[in-house]
Amino acid sequence: MSLNIVVLAKQVPDTRNVGKDAMKEDGTINRSALPAIFNPEDLNALEQALRLKETHPGSKITLLTMGLPRAAEVIREGLYRGADTGIVLTDRALGGADTLATSYSLAQAIRHLAEYDIIIGGRQAIDGDTAQVGPQIAEKLGLPQVTYAEEIKVEDGKATIKRRIENGVEVVEAPLPLVVTVNGSAAPCRPRNARLIQKFKYAATPSEKGAASEEVKKLLDTRSYLNLYEWSAAEVEADPAQIGMPGSPTKVKTVVNVVFQAKESKRIEAADDAAIEDLVKDLIANHTIG
């Protein structure tokens, strides 16, 4: 049985590596200085999809991302690893969305896609760490969900999934169609494949095609698999009241940069044995240790 697999991917700023270059003088983050990457756990999700495709020949992997038009970059990253095609859901009206408005928008795109057996995404994105979009998409589509997945197997229309939970492991069985979110402890994604890079390097969305050279345009006209999809809110029949800022019940009141209260520290050099011994004696005397 071949499967229609949807992989949810997000292009995120690399918040794990906020170095000195990314900090402005006032201590705030210069977001544009952070590299935009394929959200790490979405790569774990893609790997699970690729494995399912291997065990179910004829399966099709469609990557779905919501973001700026340049999020087409993550679609190409996915194609280089074995996905078949991709959709960028992009519209100014989608901006400022919280997790609820985001999941509504993505659920509308999945409905528009019409054919899906399993929807796989990363557990959470590193720019928000909420882990909410997966379960919320499941609820919007009226599907069951399995979160924290590490391995997904599908047989006879049923998925068997190993989950990594606190202090242990759980194996569950769930019917398709289904939404699964994959944990970072799952198998890492395979690297890009040189042949697929050659095949897909000119893959483009309609707006990218518009800006491309005549040569690339011709290529896109003759090779249909290079044409990626770009959908607007209207195209997926999203209700304007449920998307973007208006569709977001959570409102951010304030955002402040984290600044820690500096203490006056006592400084000791590694070579100063007497000072290190005094420190240990102090800690013993005040019952911190010993």
Binding site: P144, P175, V256, V258
Partner: protein, 342 residues
């Protein structure tokens, strides 16, 4: 049941014991409910719930809703979310809190999606306050402010859901304090009929195997933590940290960078994506001090930073800064401890 506008906590339990994170939320919930002038309620759904309320009432809980059915344990998403969704439609709580656990983070989003109520994940602080919408000028009183890390922990955001109820938030274990309110506090138990709240089609996900392995590592409750960062350099170099921790009777922790590099296992990770700790003594070895790590340990009583970079960010919050190499400093700490302790 009437629309009650109260504050409700979803309680998790395992092996007949209510989870610590739920008791911590009940403690916080009691304070918030008193401030709002409403009742504190709790809901437990599962199997063999006999007498579970006696563990809950001492936290100042006025009402415990119990839903008992063998199919509700172990937890699966659909039946538990169905219970909360249908109950909340009846009683309309103004606030719902749950643990930022594998269960709470699976359940919360599903419930919030169906009720179209905002949910904030992993809050580090919850406060009641007023709000004026800058665009409409509309004023709101007694909103729940959900304060938590944003943007990978590099910022702190204060979030509110002015127009939607319940206002929902998840909080990680160990973030709030657990404290008995009144050992003799007595509330009311309301037993709910599971079949009225859960459609039989909701039991589609079957658990076919489950083994809980109690974590061998218990950094959360250790009074002394020796933590290593990427600067430790290798898995082998962590041996020195284990030696110091063993000598002092403590545990070894790590930053996300050290865990990602494969130096130690994930259950030792301290910070926003790991555990929050407040030991008596925290010895940070080769940890630069990414904000997301500091957020998980800054309340330690005494912090010692050992780093060869005298300007490592973590040094600003340390009580003692030892500048130098770990392989020089750690053996000296071990030596002087052995020499001076009885």
């Amino acid at each position: 049941m009437a629309d009650n506008n109260n504050l409700i906590v979803y309680c998790e339990y395992e092996d007949g014991k209510v989870a610590d994170v739920s008791l911590e939320l009940l403690t916080k919930g009691r304070t918030l409910a008193t401030r709002l002038g409403v009742k504190l309620e709790a809901i437990v759904a599962g199997d063999k719930l006999d007498g579970i309320e006696t563990q809950i009432f001492p936290y100042g809980v006025d009402v415990v809703y119990k839903v008992e059915d063998a199919r509700l344990y172990p937890y699966t998403s659909l039946p538990h979310s169905s219970i909360l969704i249908n109950l909340f439609k009846e009683i309309k709580p103004q606030v719902c809190l749950m643990g930022a656990t594998c269960i709470g983070r699976d359940l919360g989003p599903r419930v919030s999606s169906c009720l179209h109520s905002g949910l904030t994940a992993d809050c580090t602080s919850l406060e009641i306050g007023d709000h004026k919408d800058p665009r409409t000028g509309k004023e709101y009183t007694d909103l729940l402010y959900q304060i938590g890390p944003a943007f990978g922990g590099n910022m702190v955001a204060s979030i509110g859901n002015p127009d939607c109820r319940p206002q929902m938030a998840t909080v990680r274990e160990g973030v709030m304090k657990k404290e008995i309110y009144d050992a003799n506090y007595k509330g009311e138990v309301i037993n709910l009929d599971c079949d009225k709240y859960v459609d039989s089609a909701s039991y589609v996900v079957k658990i076919i195997d489950r083994h809980i392995e109690k974590s061998a590592v218990n950094i959360k409750n250790s009074p002394i933590i020796v933590a290593g960062g990427y600067g430790v350099g290798s898995k082998e170099n962590f041996d020195l940290l284990f030696e110091l921790a063993n000598t002092l009777g403590g545990e070894v922790g790590a930053s996300r960078a050290a865990v990602d590099a494969g130096f130690v296992e994930h259950d030792r990770q301290i910070g926003q994506t790991g555990v929050t700790v407040r030991p008596k003594l925290y010895i940070a070895c080769g940890i630069s001090g990414q904000i997301q790590h500091i957020a998980g340990m800054q309340e330690s009583s005494i912090i010692i930073s050992i780093n060869n970079d005298p300007n490592a960010p973590i040094n600003t919050i340390a009580d003692y800064v030892i500048t130098g190499n770990l392989e020089d400093v750690l053996p000296k700490l071990i030596k002087y401890y052995k020499k001076n302790s009885k």
